[in-house]
């Protein structure tokens, strides 16, 4: 059975995954935290926590609120910063045989360009995932990914400073995700991942104030799956690039829905909190499905539900 996928066919390094199951940024740390719990190297790829130029402290407590079949988070991109990542994490990853993809976040286009440059050529790093769901300070705090123009600017800047495969991760908080996807593709992205969290809020009625310390948060989990799936379906119809689907994937059948909608690979996020083995369970479920249906090559399933 062949589950492998090539996510960056035009890149000189390529980004070949043994199977389509990845972990979603921010929900699996640096991978190292789980490496003694199960064989994480059976997965297709690990995507690490969003990383900025300098370490970030993040938002005030509370940072998490459970909602109906969903999770609101306002972590605020707390992370160790790119220098510590290169020094402490990359050497560990270099000994692994699956690709690790570094998710990057910036407040200006230059931040992104500089981050991509620093990661270029570092052993242990297989690719970059550009999180454009962060507030663009210069544009008054709107997300870079909200508009095709700023999304393309970030993509082009990152491509100019790195030879690594570049995945651009789209935010659902935009009026036309297909347009953003096309702009990002045009600007040179190797692949597109989607979706990041949907903006949301929860209110503590006893305290009569927002539950999260920073008021708004990002919604993830099964509650967002139909929205994520729709957006993957849309984007798969708009661009030729490989697509990585993400949003509420908990089981293999969720993952297969995304694959049939046009995703070449998928990411498991929030589901890892209740079940740390969720990514592996999803992988095993996909294998069982293929066996049962007599499918030899995963490629046969990608986009089959599209009309």
């Amino acid at each position: 059975m062949n589950l492998s996928v090539q996510l960056a066919p035009k890149n000189k390094h390529g980004l070949l995954l043994a199977n389509p199951v990845m972990t979603a940024s921010g929900t699996f740390g640096y991978g190292t935290e789980y490496s003694h719990m199960f064989d994480i190297q059976r997965l297709g790829a690990i995507v690490c926590k969003g990383t900025s130029l300098e370490p970030r402290g993040g938002n005030p407590q509370p940072r998490l609120a459970e909602t109906a079949c969903g999770l609101l988070n306002s972590i605020g991109l707390q992370n160790i910063g790119v220098k510590a990542l290169i020094k402490e994490k990359a050497p560990i990853w270099a000994s692994w045989h699956l690709p690790v993809i570094v998710n990057i976040v910036g407040e200006t286009v230059d931040d992104y360009a500089q981050l991509a440059g620093e990661l270029d050529g570092i052993a242990g790093i297989g690719g970059i995932e550009v999180n454009i769901g962060c507030p663009n300070i210069k544009a008054g705090g709107a997300e870079f990914g909200a508009k095709p123009k700023s999304a393309a600017e970030v993509t082009a800047a990152v491509k100019a400073t790195t030879s690594l495969p570049v995945l651009v991760k789209l935010t659902p908080n935009t009026s036309d995700i297909a347009e953003v996807a096309m702009a990002v593709a045009e600007a040179g992205a190797d692949a597109i991942s989607l979706i990041n969290t949907l903006k949301g809020i929860a209110i503590d009625i006893a305290k009569r104030r927002p539950l999260l310390g920073s008021i708004t948060g990002g919604l993830s989990g099964p509650a967002i799956k139909p929205v994520a799936l729709y957006m993957v379906y849309e984007v798969a119809g708009a661009v030729e690039l490989p697509i990585i689907g993400c949003g509420g994937i908990t089981t293999a059948s969720d993952a297969l829905e995304f694959i049939m909608a046009g995703a070449s690979a998928i990411q498991v996020g929030t589901a890892s909190f209740t079940n740390p083995r969720a990514p592996l369970d999803v992988l095993e479920g996909i294998e069982q499905f293929m066996e049962k249906e007599g499918i030899d090559n995963l490629a046969e399933l990608i986009g089959v539900a599209r009309r």
């Binding site: 740390g29 719990m37 998490l64 999770l71």
Partner: protein
């Protein structure tokens, strides 16, 4: 740290809305330290996105006990589980209490359900030959932890806010009486209790080293998601990994007040 299936041995409502559940879990029991916690998976299906953190309350061979108040849907679900059911646990997690090598007289201070981790600490301290006094404070008598569940060597002192049992008033008022005796203090309770202690530290604690256990909302429980980060005098700390037990003096109590869970 392990993900382990634990069989429920018993589950009883020992006080109104407070349950004591005994679980068989050799992998967790063999590693557990006082002050550590487990993340319990609640419910089936897709409803729950987060496990619930609960302190390890007692240890007996291969068995651990949890003590919890029903406050929401997760703890309500857990209160319904019965002998023979299986629970999915992650644990033991976090950094627990540490008894300094020179400490002999240990003062344990419980505010309400905060007694949960302190009974395990009392068990271990007694095994190590320490003397243990437990101050247990609750709003009213029906919420006081039953004395017959404590190791008999523990000296128990109680207080209720309404005066229906023990001394009347807040448990923190009793602290000065024990400062001549105590070598070290271990507290678990609501943030308001810690704030009271921290604000009147010189008077209440007379400089005695004090460890407290913090409660914040947790996602992963294992240092991955940064959901539980708090600011301390030593910088940012993850409550699930660096805590939940901290030195009282390290916490910035005013900052915590604002965000408090």
């Amino acid at each position: 740290m392990r993900q382990a299936t634990a069989r429920v041995i018993s589950n009883n409502e020992i006080m109104p809305r407070v349950y004591l559940v005994w679980l068989n879990s050799p992998p967790i029991a063999s590693q557990a330290q006082p002050g550590q916690f487990v993340m319990v998976r609640c419910g089936e299906g897709l409803e729950y996105q987060l496990r619930r953190p609960l302190s390890i309350h007692q240890l007996d061979g291969n068995e651990i006990a949890l003590l919890f108040t029903v406050v929401g849907k997760g703890t309500r679900w857990l209160s319904q589980c019965q002998a023979g059911d299986n629970l999915d646990l992650l644990g033991p997690l976090g950094n627990g209490y540490s008894i300094h090598s020179g400490s002999h007289n240990l003062l344990l201070v419980a505010g309400g359900i905060g007694i949960a981790p302190l009974v395990f600490l009392a068990q271990q301290a007694l095994n190590q030959g320490c003397s243990v006094t437990l101050l247990s404070g609750t709003p009213t008598t029906t919420q006081l932890y039953p004395e017959y569940l404590l190791p008999p060597e523990v000296k128990l002192v109680t207080a209720t806010e309404d005066g229906t049992a023990g001394r009347k008033g807040m448990i923190t008022n009793l602290l000065p009486d024990f400062m001549g005796w105590a070598d070290q203090i271990f507290a678990c309770g609501p943030i308001s209790m810690y704030q009271t202690i921290a604000a009147r530290k010189q008077h209440l604690l007379k400089g005695k080293p004090t460890q407290v256990s913090l409660e914040v909302r947790m996602g992963c429980g294992r240092g991955v998601c940064y959901g539980c980060t708090v600011k301390t005098k030593r910088g940012l700390r993850q409550v699930c990994k660096d805590g939940p037990v901290f030195d009282l003096d390290d916490i910035l109590w005013d900052e915590l007040a604002d965000g408090g869970v």
